[in-house]
Amino acid sequence: MVRRQTATAFFILVFLSMLLAACWDKTELNELALVSMIGVDSDPESGVKTVYFQVVNPLSSSSAKGPPNSDQAPVYTYEIKGKSYGEMNSTIYKVLPRRLFIAHYKAIIVSERAAKQGVREIVNFIEMQPNGRASVPLLISDGPLSPFMHTLTPLERVPSDALDSRLRQLTRHSLLTGKQIMVNNVIERMENGETIVLPLVTSQAENVPADSGETAANINAKQNNFTIGGGAVLQDYRMVGRLNDKELIWYHLLNGEKGRQALRFLIDGKRTSLEWKLVRLERTVHWQQGQPVVRIHLSLKLSSALSSEYVPETRRKIIQLEDQVNRIMTDELNAFQEKMKTKGWDLLRIEKLLQRSRLPGQQHSATTAKNAKVVISVTTKLSQVGMNTPY
C-alpha cells in the first residue's frame, strides 16, 4: 500500500515538473546568437575597449551553402564599447537580440594597439565566459581591427572558418605558423615566462563593401580579404615586436614544428627551390667551466622535387648539395638566434631548457640563460629528387 502511494506520488511529481516549462534550464537553438569570431580592441588614450562579436546568420548559410548569397550576410558583426570587458556581457544586449553563445567561436583577433597594452585582460575575459573555449587561435591584427571584423572572405561560409582553415593549411604546408597559438597555449606559456609568437593578420580591404553580395561576386579573392603573414612577439602578455616571414620560418623550425617548407637556395651559382621537413630536433646542454653550451641539432629531410633549375645527377653532387644546404641553413639559423638574443627575446626557450638541465646544487639565474652559448648545426638528407631531365 505504502509502495503504491510512493509510486503515485512519484508520478505526480514527474508530471508536475513537466508543467514547469518556464523553469526548465533549456535554450532552443533559435534563441542563441552563435558567435563565430571575436575581435578585441582597446584605445590606449581614452581607455575605451571595443569588442566585436561576429554572429552567424543561420538563414544565410543554410540557403547559400557556401559563398554568401546576395540577400543576407552570412555573419553580422555586433560592436560594443565599454570601459571594462565585464560590463559588456550585459550591455551587448542593447544591440543583440539573442543569447550570446560563444562555445563555437573559431578565432579571436586582438588589435595591435590592444596587444601592445597587454592581452592578459582579454585572455581573462575569454576564460570568464561560461561556455567559452580556450582552444581557439589568438591572432594579432596588423593595423586597426575594424576592417577585419567587417570583411567577408570568399569560399568559406564565415570569415572565422576561413581563418581557422588557413591556419591549419599553413601549419601543414609551411612553417609560417605553428600549432602553439591557441588561447590556452598563450596562457600556459606566458605563465611559464616564455616568449611566444602569434600570427599577424593584415587586411587587404581598401573600402569595405556594405553588400555581402558584392564581395561574393568579385572574382579577385585577394581584394577585400585579409592575409596571414608575419608574427607578433609577446612577452608577459604584451606585444613587444614583430618577426618577418623568413624569421618565422626559422623560429618554427627551431621550435620543432614539423610542417613542410620550401625556400630558394643558391646552389652552384643557381637559385633553386628546395623543400624540407624536420625529422628530428635534438637540444642538449653541456657545461664548460660553469657556463652552459646549448647544442641544437636539426635533422632534415630534403626534396628537390620542386626544383627544375638544379638537378643533382650523381652521388657526389647530392652530397655536395646537402653540404651546401647544411652550411647555408646553419648560418641562417645562427644569425637568427644571434639577432633574437640581441633583442632579448628567448624564442628558443633556452631558459626553460637550462632550468631543466642545471647541475645539482646550481642556482638558476636569467643571466646564465642570456649568456649561454648556442651552437646550431643542421644535417640534411636528400630523399626525393624531381624531374632529372626538365623540359
Binding site: L29, N30, L32
Partner: protein, 487 residues
C-alpha cells in the same frame, strides 16, 4: 434393468445431446437399422469432422461389411479411441459423449454390443502452411506455424527426429479448453528448467486462452517490465534451434505464436538466420542490430538533449545547419520530437489496421506528404523528420517483434527525461534501465548473462557468430549449462 437403460439411450441420448448443445445446425445423427431395428447411431458435429472418413470408412464398412451380417463396429476401426459401455451411469455417458463431440470425435452408439465407441475423425479447419509475415527470411526455410497444433507438432518433429523430444499436454481455459503443449528435448533441457515451466503452467487459472500471449502473461517472470522474458516466434526452425540449445517451447492450439524460454537480453540480437549465412556477414549484421537498438532508443532523446541543453556538443557546421532549420519553428524541440514520435506511432498503428491497399497509401501519405508539408509549413524542422525516420526504421531491425515494443517504451521515457534534464536525464534513465535489466531473470537465468554475471567463454557467441567448424557441437549456452549444474 440394463435393457431399460438401453431403451433410454436408444430413445433419449440424441435428444439430450441436442438439448445440451442447444440444437446446433451442425449436429448430425445418422441411424442404421438391421431388420427394422435400430442398431447403430452415428452422432457428430459436421463442422468439426472429416465427413469423408465417416462416409467412406465408418458408414460404408458398417452398411456393406460386417453390419450386414449383424456385426457391430469393432476396435479395428480407423481412429478408434475408446469405448463407453452402456452399463455406466446415463449422466456420465451423456457428458462424455458431449465432450467427445466438441473435441471433433464421432460417437458411434452401438446398440448391439451396448457401448458407445468414440472415434477420432477430427479435421480442424486450417490454412495452408506459409511464410510468417512478421518473420520473413531470405535464406532459410519459409515454413511457418499455423493455427493448428497438430500441424505445428509435425513441423517440429520434421526438424528434430529424436526419441527424447517430449510433448507434455495441458488444457487451459474453462470455456475454450485450449490444448497447450510444453515441448523440450529431455536429454538437453535442464531438469530444473522443465520443472519450473511445469510449475508455472500448472499454476495458470483462466477461463480462456486464445493466443500464446495469454500464457506468456501468466508464466513470465515480471509483469512490470518493458523487456520480454520469453521470446515469441512463428518459425519452426527457430523453435528447433532453441530446443537444441536446451530451452523449452510452449505451443498453444489456435495460434501460430510459439513461446520460448528462457531468453536473455543479448539473444534478442541474434537470429537463427545468422547461422544460415556466412559467419563474417552474420557477425557484421549482429553488430548492426546492436547499433540499431541503441539508435532506436537513444537518438531522439540525444537530439532533444543536445539541441536544448548542450549546444556546445554539436559540431559547429551541424549546429548552424540545425539552427537554420529551427528558425521560425514555433514549438520547442522537445515538444516537436514528442509530437512527431506520437504521430509516427499512430500512422504505424493505422497502417497495421487498414486494409492492405489503403494501408500502403496511408503510410506514404503519412511519412512523406505529412512530414514534408509540416516542414514546409514551418511547424517542425526537417531534422526531426530524419530523427523520427531513423528511429522508426531501426526499431524494426531486431529480429523479435516484441523486443521492438520495449524499445518504443524506453524511447518515450528517455525523451521525457531528456526534455526535462538533458544528458543528465538520459544518463539517469540509462542507469535505471541497466539496473532493471541486471535484476531481471528469465526462468531462473539472469537476463543480462553472459555480461552480468560475466562469463567470458560465452561472450564470443554474443559478439561474433563463430564459424561452424570452430563450434563445439555438443556445447550448450553457458546459462543452460549452469542450470544443468544445479541438477
Amino acid at each position: 434393468m440394463a435393457k431399460q437403460e438401453n431403451r433410454s439411450i436408444q430413445t433419449d441420448l440424441f435428444a439430450d445431446v441436442q438439448n445440451a448443445l442447444g440444437s446446433p445446425l451442425d449436429l448430425v445423427c445418422r441411424s442404421l437399422f438391421a431388420r427394422e431395428e435400430l442398431t447403430v447411431q452415428c452422432i457428430y458435429l459436421s463442422s468439426m469432422v472429416d465427413k469423408k472418413t465417416i462416409d467412406e470408412y465408418l458408414l460404408k464398412s458398417l452398411t456393406e461389411g460386417r453390419f450386414a451380417e449383424g456385426e457391430a463396429p469393432g476396435e479395428t476401426e480407423p481412429h478408434f479411441l475408446r469405448e463407453l459401455a452402456f452399463s455406466r451411469e446415463y449422466k456420465e455417458l451423456l457428458e462424455q459423449t458431449i465432450s467427445a463431440l466438441l473435441a471433433g470425435q464421432c460417437a458411434l452408439v452401438d446398440f448391439v454390443r451396448e457401448r458407445i465407441c468414440l472415434i477420432d475423425v477430427h479435421a480442424p479447419r486450417q490454412r495452408q502452411i506459409d511464410e510468417p509475415k512478421a518473420e520473413s527470411t531470405i535464406r532459410g526455410p519459409h515454413e511457418g506455424f499455423t493455427e493448428t497444433i497438430q500441424a505445428n507438432v509435425g513441423l517440429i518433429r520434421k526438424r528434430i527426429r529424436h526419441p527424447q523430444l517430449r510433448f507434455e499436454k495441458y488444457h487451459f481455459g474453462s470455456n475454450t479448453q485450449t490444448t497447450v503443449l510444453l515441448v523440450y528435448l529431455e536429454h538437453l533441457a535442464p531438469h530444473s528448467l522443465v520443472e519450473e515451466a511445469r510449475r508455472r503452467l500448472s499454476a495458470i487459472k483462466t477461463d480462456s486462452v486464445l493466443e500464446s500471449a495469454y500464457i506468456e502473461e501468466f508464466i513470465q517472470d515480471r509483469i512490470w517490465s518493458p523487456f520480454p522474458t520469453l521470446s515469441n516466434t512463428e518459425r519452426p526452425d527457430v523453435v528447433a534451434a532453441q530446443l537444441l540449445d536446451g530451452k523449452v517451447a510452449v505451443l498453444v492450439d489456435g495460434t501460430p505464436g510459439v513461446l520460448l524460454a528462457p531468453m536473455t537480453f543479448f539473444e534478442f540480437f541474434s537470429s537463427p538466420e545468422d547461422y544460415y549465412q556466412r559467419a563474417d556477414i552474420a557477425t557484421l549484421i549482429r553488430w548492426f542490430r546492436l547499433i540499431s537498438f541503441f539508435t532506436a532508443v537513444f537518438v531522439p532523446s540525444l537530439y532533444v538533449a543536445a539541441t536544448t541543453f548542450h549546444q556546445e556538443l554539436i559540431p559547429t557546421q551541424l549546429l548552424i545547419s540545425l539552427s537554420a532549420q529551427r528558425e521560425g519553428v514555433p514549438l520547442p524541440a522537445f515538444i516537436e520530437v514528442l509530437l512527431m514520435e506520437v504521430v509516427f506511432e499512430i500512422i504505424r498503428e493505422a497502417g497495421l489496421r487498414m486494409p492492405r491497399a489503403i494501408g500502403q497509401a496511408l503510410s506514404i501519405v503519412g511519412a512523406i506528404v505529412l512530414g514534408q508539408a509540416a516542414v514546409e509549413a514551418g511547424l517542425i524542422s526537417a531534422a526531426i523528420v530524419i530523427v523520427v525516420s531513423i528511429t522508426g526504421i531501426t526499431n524494426f531491425v531486431v529480429p523479435v517483434y516484441s523486443f521492438g515494443m520495449s524499445q518504443r517504451l524506453l524511447r518515450f521515457s528517455l525523451v521525457l527525461l531528456a526534455g526535462m534534464l538533458g544528458l543528465f536525464g538520459i544518463l539517469c534513465g540509462a542507469l535505471f534501465v541497466a539496473a532493471h535489466l541486471a535484476s531481471l531473470k528469465s526462468f531462473g537465468v539472469p537476463y543480462m548473462s553472459p555480461a552480468a554475471p560475466a562469463n567470458r567463454a560465452d561472450w564470443k557467441e554474443v559478439l561474433v557468430r563463430v564459424p561452424r567448424p570452430w563450434m563445439n557441437p555438443l556445447r550448450l549456452p553457458g546459462f543452460i549449462q549452469k542450470l544443468h549444474g544445479k541438477r
